[in-house]
């Protein structure tokens, strides 16, 4: 899970390694993920979101590709 300064750098990084280009997320989307996932992490009641909650979160912020589905079997083994 890495930062890139442009789409061109993402494509180049994947090409250099012979890896498929995956869907990207914007910084605003990443902030939504970070705050939803971790804002309460220091609190006693915090917990890791369940798969359904993860799926709803991704959909809410526009990450709808099966790549983001925590239970997708579309990609086999990484």
């Amino acid at each position: 899970m890495l930062f890139f300064r442009s789409e061109e750098e993402v494509r180049g990084w994947c090409r250099d390694r012979g890896l498929p280009r995956r869907p990207t997320a914007s910084m605003d989307q990443l902030w939504e993920l970070a705050t939803t996932w971790y804002a309460s992490r220091l609190e006693p009641e915090s917990r890791r979101p369940a798969p359904d909650e993860i799926r709803r979160l991704f959909h809410r912020i526009g990450l709808t590709d099966p790549f983001w589905d925590p239970q997708s079997d579309e990609f086999g083994h990484a």
Binding site: M1, L2, F3, F4, R5, S6, E7, E9, V10, G12, W13, C14, D16, L19, P20, R21, R22, T24, A25, S26, M27, D28, Q29, L30, W31, L33, A34, T35, W37, Y38, A39, R41, L42, E43, P44, E45, S46, R47, R48, I54, F58, P66, F67, W68, D69, P70, Q71, S72, D73, E74, F75, H77, A78
Partner: protein, 151 residues
Amino acid sequence: MISDVDVKVAVYRHIAESGRVPTAAECAERVGAPVADIVAAWERLQSNRLLLLAAGPSGEDAPWIRMAPPFSGVPTQHAVEVRGTEYFANCAWDALGVVAALGGEGVVRSRCERSRVPLELECGPDGPPPSDWLFHCHVPAAHWWDDLVFT
């Protein structure tokens, strides 16, 4: 009898206060329990995907915390400064997660993975400033925990 929640909170408070993960002995002192109970709790927290442990240097040593997401137990390229303390995150997502976990304001220092151009993001109450930078993950979400260090 200590609870896993007590141990989890102790781990995260230690990190928040110091910028580094606690040893099992430090965690034991903080919650007033034997080291063996702490290690057992850590292992249960790992089963629940709240910690990632690594073996100690020899078979007799207690394990140590490699990841207490979003915090990293080792230095990484994703550094975060909050109120004068430096923390390390496991990945790009976790870098913003460290800011979120510690109150929502801080500075993320990382880099573009291909060009190595430095990234400095000053996050305020409304998040990071407008930015064209992108987040890319090679591993599909369904496989993130197959090898969390690689992810």
